[in-house]
Symmetry: C2
Subunit: 332 residues, 2 copies
DNA sequence: CTGTTAGCGCGTTCAG
DNA sequence: CTGAACGCGCTAACAG
């Protein structure tokens, strides 16, 4: 475990001072081409890899990033989404040379704001990506307001000098997928099962639905399914009989609704939101909004990197697709 | 970002030397109750949180652990398994005060052994948990043989002084679940779809099948499905007609087989292995071996901690359940 | 039992 | 444009 090959070894090999090597590593301006190449060559030859731990300790602004996964673990199939988020960020992190650590919200949920800040600081963390935040997460809001860290919020429209937001246009996407679904069958009376009462995406998607209802002169009954398959199922049993389409704010709820309809032995068009693989396994094909969670997460990392470099926070709106998912496509 | 409250501050507050605080923190023996409490009190009052980064840099044996997820990302639904592994380890890590970083194998696949070692060392990593390793992973085998790190291999029976293995008894589990399945319908001629050609679990499960075939005087046709749903589907189309049960080495392959059977419009009992949630969504209920991936991963962390404390490597065999998964249970 | 002295590997002034 | 010197927060010998 000892004798790590350090910046000092490289310096010796290249006949320069350690600090010179450091400057080459960190792309400092005032280094001559010649010594630069000399150092670079030594780095290659010695298979030197910088110790990011030491760098973090020393510089206090090195790119250590925390992924804060704040998803309700009770919601199944969420696994896929979280996994996409994780691998997107982790893979992007290695190319950007960022050190990324993963933190499930449950791991730190019982900390006070101050303890949480100290914890993050003790890890030399300077940047944070937050996934799945809702209006109720006081702690996270404080964290953002304090502006002690550079933060990217995924799917929460929060922006300040040190905070960027990354998300798709949920309003437009919900509008479009619902429109497509109701027009296929000429539906007029729709049941809309929304997500969590205080969720950001829930609000945005609901807004899209309201616009659609107005534009197409529909009637809409809104119920809250809390992104739960079971709740959506129960809501469907109770209300779908008198409605002629069921629009859901998530795929999982759409699956719950669809299974309820099958048990009720009635047909209603259903549509979901997310585009998770599971959609390909249920017998019926439904319209959905396919979000590329992997790409979203990569974008979040890119955005965070800009923040770390001094850029001001902003919104970054991403694209999506309207699709039906077939089993044949899934198993490829 | 500045003025982190450090060990020095605590020392001042408690009127002792920094090293004394360090000794208290690291449970050194020779500290009087009195100064111990004094220090502890100061720690509380100042809300001090040790900087594990600095500790790692200094001590070179602090508990920094890498999770090496080496799963074929082409295999769907694997998401759930990986996620269970991750959250199990990460959550256990926080209670054990281990710093855990997540590394997908794809992130480092193109490194040489030496580069990989340097990379891990540059992160001050001393312990590694490897998930889903097969006989072909030369790099990982070297890593284990070199014994530079304390390693826990999940689902690979590799043990040396610095390496432990954690897994369920795949042979027995495969035996039991297959036995249950064939006995329910009195099957004699079975089609067994095994996993990857050089996988450790594949070998162990196959061994279980061979024993069953012998014990029950069955005939068995073995085909390799590579843990792929599509391949299992194709194998089923081709061979299941002349067999009277399809035993699969994974749930995903079992689902592929079952869907093929449905399209062929013939009935054959099918059983899987793993107990993933997806099993609850497919219409038919199949026997499967439910592995608790979350718990497995927690056990892996525990085992690694023992290794880090000086214990020698060994096998740790875990339990499992035979189940059929119902949709009703899944959606709760 | 406690304090002092050195580093761990690196980034960062500040002279030269 | 380069190098010497200092410090990040902590642990590890060694004294006392």
């Amino acid at each position: 475990m000892r004798n790590m090959i350090s910046i000092k070894d490289v310096a010796q090999h290249a006949h320069v001072a350690p600090s010179t090597v450091s400057k080459v590593l960190n792309h400092y301006p005032n280094i001559s081409e010649e010594t630069r190449n000399k150092v670079l060559r030594s780095i290659k030859e010695l298979h030197y890899i910088p110790n990011s731990i030491a760098a973090a300790l020393s510089s206090k602004q090195s790119g250590r990033v925390a992924l804060l996964i704040n998803i309700d673990s009770k919601v199944k199939a969420i696994d896929e989404i979280a996994m996409q988020y994780l691998s997107g960020a982790l893979n992007r992190g290695v190319t950007c040379k960022l050190d990324i650590i993963t933190i499930f919200f449950s791991m730190i949920a019982d900390l006070s704001t101050e303890e949480m800040i100290r914890y993050l600081q003790s890890q030399s963390i300077t940047g944070i990506i937050i996934y799945g935040m809702s209006r109720e997460d006081k702690l996270l809001h404080e964290l953002i307001d304090l502006q002690l860290f550079k933060i990217v919020a995924v799917d929460a429209p929060i922006v300040n000098k040190n905070t960027s937001a990354v998300y798709i246009d949920h309003e437009k996407a919900q509008y479009e997928v619902a429109k497509k679904t109701v027009e296929e069958d000429g539906c007029k009376r729709i049941l809309y099962i929304k997500g969590k009462e205080n969720g950001y995406v829930t609000a945005m998607r609901l807004k899209g639905m309201k616009k659609l209802v107005k534009d197409l002169q529909l009637s809409m009954l809104v119920k809250c399914g809390n992104f739960s398959e079971l709740q959506a199922r129960n809501i469907t049993f109770q209300y779908a009989g008198e409605r002629d389409a069921v629009i859901c704010a998530s795929d999982l709820m759409a699956i719950g609704a669809m299974n309820a309809l099958i048990e009720m032995d009635i047909f209603r068009p259903v549509c979901g939101f997310d585009g998770i693989t599971l959609m390909g396994y249920v017998g019926k094909q439904m319209n959905t909004v396919r979000q590329n969670f992997y790409a979203v997460s990569q974008n979040a990392v890119d955005e965070l990197q800009l923040l770390l470099k001094g850029r001001e926070g902003r919104k970054r709106i991403l694209g999506y697709e309207l699709v039906k998912m077939h089993y044949k496509d899934i198993i490829l």
